[in-house]
Subunit: 483 residues, 4 copies
């Protein structure tokens, strides 16, 4: 039963605006620039004259708001929005956010990016006490806590509740009177404040969403902070002083958009630096460097620049989404892979190729890409990964815990190389990764969460303690890694 | 009235297969890799035991075949498919191909990539003679001619008809007994023959579609040729010997996929060469080279490589399609532009930038991108175009004739530079373009059609003679160009 | 092959209006009242300032025009519309009418109710001569003939063409200048002219459509007539004087709406008279009379009134359309029948019931209804049919030719009674039917076509000659009928 | 705020089955026969091996289950279903039932027909205590009460909760182990138990749903009863002995299907008796009796039979649903009315007509129908209503409380007659109604709730007390009624 009610708020994107007559349309623009953070569903709730109303559905943002009249119906002066990550099997409109709650005495809308690690036990406690949940989502838990709280003001009830939930969260909330943002004590997920020309304030998971609506960056929300935006401007409050910055390194490695800045660092630049460092750490003689589109192109160009080896377009990604029907034959399955990614025969044939990718999870994708390159005539394929081996699950919202097999948890680098059919394989070191991203905070790994690489989690694991122990046992049984 | 029945078969993609039990599925894969050639509609007709059946609709391929059962219903041993380019205003399912004709004495399906230049007069003649057209499409004209022909065999009727239509065409046809391809006497559009492991033959607009289904390239169909594929293999016939190879240069410049080869030349390599040549022809001192994604990335990397200036990701294209609602305010319209393309502030701020693009049509897009870069803090923006100025309409299928204003037909390079707000602007020369692509045929421009740049059309213009004269007059009135 | 291109314009409804600013909306109202004549598809073409435009699709009228904006887009001062009858298997949007033809020198829209009997041979002749058909529909044939005609005026070309097509037809046509109606030489299908308060003229298959738009009945179009309506009013022309009125008796028996008048006779009244006559011809002692809803309720009330036996509601039809999925078990199939029609146990239990129905085609429906009544406890079920036994196919548009088995062609009345499980069974006589409907024309059966009952067709059968001979042979081999 | 969270579970239909391998399909059949009880939305929850799953959506049942695969996905051995009545404005999928609740310690699905009268106060109390509601529906209230209850067993928790909710309710519930039905202490809504041949038990709002699945009627659930069905059969328990049977008389008058039996009385027969009694109470000289289709046909035939005046089909209802777009002109609005209902000119012209209808709410519909008949030429129209004047709102689930104007609350019969344009008008008396329905229970009005006619409500009104007092005041101010 626990499995079924596991939390579902993994990678997602949130957005909010207060004080602009086109709040619904701005949410649409902002969420569109965050679409890479979640494709399962999307929604917007707006506030017009103190009344909240919303629309949400399964599908891409452009499908959810296919009928422009939905945006017109949502016209208002403030609003929050959410794009939701697709996880297999349990996609239901009930889990699509923002959630809009209407009580006889207050209205509140809520959207969440992150993953609670005590969600299962909190939910059971609340249910024992009579609570009814209508979704599989973590997000409802916060609402139950807020309503149960006996504090005097809504802000105090929210603060009390934020001290009860554990894990990773960036919340945006909308009430008839205010737009509220909140970040967990480790700041695992980014959340930025921006301001538009007319004075309106904006909250967004990534700064690319500030850019798209023409907002200037004001500041990032810090761990343990609450930002409250209303007609008098914005103010910062804190709900805890037990904070320790641990920004998710995967945001830099592959998740965020290259034009976003996180903690003052541009994502493309961080990736290019990882590629450069990788060229130093793991050089190899070759005719060209190619990147796996799209997330590894920055690292590949960094590798090329540092190594002096030409950067070429050896792999082409089809920009149109391919339907993946179940294919009855092996031949059709292979063609299905080529629908999404093609090797450029005219470029790679007869050449020694360095293929840069950002990470290896199960190894199957890497194996297929190496195979594509070899089928297209590549003489040698040297795989260079611009991050360390993924060996431990993430409990803070990166969808690694669902991967049954983290190949690097079970196999050595040499074994992985053999499995993916590469002529050589190297990963970027943990230090190289931290140095390339270049944060300077006084915290472990300079403020980065590197737990999927190191197994050192910055918080207790609560409901996930058992899962972790299993993974750890598995890794300890496997042969020593050679990284 | 003529305007209304103007031909609509502009850029498109065609595919065909004979002799494979998964013909419908292979068409789906092949057409998906040709989706960039047309997004308005798609269709597939297959042949099972000599009976043809088809499905076509408006929308992307994955929408047209959203329900997998459609592909199952179309199961057969041979098939042809088509993706259709979107032109404003007249999109009707009636124009979506392949067309499937069932007569009391024969069945035939037909798909077309190209543009006839005597379509209007042929259609009027046919209508005077009692013909009824059900679409606005050129493609029906060939069918009427085939049915009117008094030749003995279908192949002879097709040959006679191919000598009547003028302009650019790559046809694929399916009958109960054969798959047929045909190319116009100038070979404006590419059409390649491939063969799969099981012996099945494939026809495709681009070689990337051969790759996706795992077919080996056999040969390109040549000008004036007819290829007839049936259970005994393939054979080549010719319907005219008045041929002159004039491959559309825009296929290399921006239209085809970088992993395709045309006339033996890889498209990515051709583009990279254009970038290199451009660096030689129009050097400039700068901090970085950036390409306008996605079609100009190859040229930009070539420019960077030849100039030694670092290649950076200064522009990010949103990989998700944005709905473009009508925006009531100027502010919303600008945000709408940023939804599709963002400048990376963290990369370009304070820098001198070389922005490489493949072409300038009306100049509005270039102006917006320069503006995006400057808003993101670029100190200087030097625009380099990897092809010559577009001054003349295309009548062979590239959608330039619909552009009311070819900016280069009216303005000098300096005037264009001023209009788009660039700090400097240069185009690649005609010679540079021809050399970079590197064809070696004994024909004008080594086998390339460069008419949009030079005004020298390789054929008489038939129904379009007047349009051309107007454009020519306009250009002659304008100030001398400085290219 | 002939089977595949068989004509499909069977029972349908047509409507037209000239001279009213709400022409599209009036078509919508009028077609909705004719929806019982065809549920497969619907369409409307309107004329605004001499330009024709249209919309058509598969589905009920309310589905085809689900988006009100379609009607707004079609706003104009004249229009024609069509509802199409659903025949299994070949439903394609290409067959949905009205057809809108745009030539370089004229525009014309065309809709058709009826069935041509020389369609196959005409189509073959036209195809031999180079014509291309885009639908399986008869209606295209007329358009080809009109375009081939060398007469001077459109009206003369239409007249010539109407003399070439044979069978049953009520055409409505729309040009930039006129609304035109035409009826076949036997007047098989009804077509009426009405006039609205503002002077606008209306054409409609049934007078109920005149009522719904508030038009006064002006006159019925007569066999061999053409009615031409334009801004100067309406005028009647004739294209042949070889006419013989033979109105389809099935329009009165079950097809038309009870509130329509045909040839001056109200359909409900005709049916009630058939019920009265049936009570005289085939009396039986019973507790109640019930009708099979909805088409037999008038006849049942007539039977009750004439016999003095109470009229009860013993069968209830579900007013909501039931989806008929394929049911895997016999039990589910029987429940599926009950979804559509229920016997009222509280009414019929223990009673002797007279069940009045309008016709028996294959006998399966009658068998099921008798079974429903017996399961609900009816002590006796006496079936009375308010028309004669159906023994011969209809070639003029009533969907009898598709019925593989006309039970009355093979079996005697006693055998049918046994098969359907009734305690007694009687049909109305041919004379009784003719007398009850009460036409007074100087023509066989007073102007009624009774060929499905008698086998005497009022015209040669052209392409259907062979089919008829087979049926006739089958009937002659069967045992003598006892009617 | 209260208005917004007002209860929405008005007229609806419920169904349930336990012990049949085709439980989902049986729900589909059963709900289809109950579709007249609610057209806004529909849903089914089934139980396979103790796991519940469901599907629900807005729209007619056939739309909700358009894709047959939904039913296949729901295959199971037990299930409950619901069709929901359409009330303007607040239709959201969140309110569509059955509701499926999954807790960490139990699963339960719930569907409700009726209306709670203390819903608003219960909801406020529960929210004060931390409860979160996700719909506007009453039904959630019961679930909260069940979860809050500290009783030992689920059945005891349900019993305690049923004693807290007040008003009208027929609940069906599904757990992994049982199918449960419950009726309020007044039995306002019908709920019947049936048994299928294979022993499976069925619950349904009306007996017509038992008939459609071939189930035999076992017994009606009685006021204050709980029926628990599991693999060991069915058993009856009671949760209160404070019961008083008060079946909703509107079920007999217009709401239920004529083939259903309620409390042992067939609905068609009850209506026919009302018509007969009306003929005695309010005779009039006329040429024919006509009924307003479909709900008044039984009463009309009763009137005809008792009076000896012929029953005719003077009004025809279009069996196809008409879209009611907003019509910009008065002419179009009148045509819109005629789309739905037509007067048969050929029947009524020149005749004195008795028009029988089941009720008058606001009077606007009656006025339109009288007008239709007069436009069609009726010489006189005598309106006879087969129930007493509606003067008081219903708080138990009949959608009268939403009607802003009950015409009979404000006007005398003579005034109403004048407003609707009838030549005479009479209503059936309260006594006549009670006698015609013919219940024999030892309770006010023999067990019928007649409160909309008399203002005597069988229960305290709780949250609605104020509304009632307003209506009462209004009625007392109006002139004395002449009934």
């Amino acid at each position: 039963m626990v499995a079924e009610i596991k939390s579902l708020n993994e990678e997602c994107g949130v957005f909010g605006v207060w004080g602009h007559p086109d709040a619904a349309q701005l949410n649409f623009f902002g969420l569109h620039s965050l679409q890479h953070r979640g494709q399962e569903g999307a929604g917007i709730v707006t506030n017009r004259n103190g009344r909240l109303k919303g629309h949400r559905d399964l599908g891409l943002l452009s499908e959810v708001f296919k009928d422009e009249r939905e945006l017109i119906r949502l016209s208002g002066e403030a609003g929050i929005g959410h794009v939701r990550y697709s996880t297999a099997g349990s996609n239901s409109i009930l889990n699509i956010q923002p959630f809009l709650f209407k009580f006889h005495d207050e209205e509140l809308a809520l959207a969440h990016n992150g993953n609670l690690i005590n969600a299962v036990s909190l939910r059971q406690e609340l249910e024992q006490d009579g609570a009814i949940f209508h979704s599989n989502s973590d997000t409802e838990i916060l609402m139950h806590l807020i309503r149960k709280s006996k504090q005097d003001t809504l802000i105090d009830r929210i603060k009390e509740s934020l001290n009860t939930v554990k894990g990773a969260f960036a919340y945006v909330m909308l009430t008839p009177d205010a737009l509220i943002g909140a970040l967990d004590p480790n700041g695992f997920r980014p959340l930025s404040i921006g301001q538009m020309e007319n004075g309106a304030y904006v909250l967004a998971s990534e700064t690319c969403a500030l850019d798209v609506v023409g907002a200037e960056f004001v500041r990032a929300v810090q761990p343990g902070e609450l930002v409250i935006i209303d007609d008098s401007g914005y103010r910062i409050e804190t709900y805890t002083d037990q904070t320790l910055l641990q920004i998710c390194s995967m945001e830099f490695i592959y998740f965020a958009r290259p034009d976003s800045n996180i903690a003052g660092v541009n994502v493309h630049t961080a990736r290019k630096n990882m590629g450069k460092r990788l060229a130093e750490e793991a050089p190899v003689d070759a005719d060209m460097v190619i990147g796996v589109p799209n997330s590894s192109l920055s690292a590949a160009s960094g590798y090329a620049e540092a190594s002096g080896i030409p950067y070429e377009m050896g792999l082409v990604k089809n920009q149109y989404v391919a339907r993946t029907f179940i294919q009855p034959t092996q031949e059709l399955r292979e063609q299905g892979v080529r629908m999404k990614l093609s090797a450029v025969r005219g470029v790679v044939a007869g050449k020694k190729v360095i293929m840069v990718d950002d990470s290896i999870v199960r190894g199957t994708t890497s194996r297929r890409i190496v195979q594509l390159l070899k089928e297209a005539g590549a003489a040698e394929v040297h795989v260079r990964i611009s991050s360390p081996p993924l060996k431990y699950p993430c409990f803070y919202g990166i969808d690694i815990q669902n991967q049954k097999e983290l190949i690097a948890a079970d196999y050595s680098v040499e074994e992985i190389r053999e499995k993916i059919g590469a002529d050589s394989l190297s990963f970027l070191s943990v230090e190289g990764t931290v140095d390339s991203i270049g944060l300077k905070f006084d915290a472990p790994h300079n403020g980065l969460c590197m737990s999927y690489f190191t197994g050192d989690y910055p918080t207790p694991l609560y409901d996930y303690e058992t899962d972790y122990m299993k993974t750890l046992a598995k890794i300890r049984e496997s042969k020593p890694l050679m990284v």
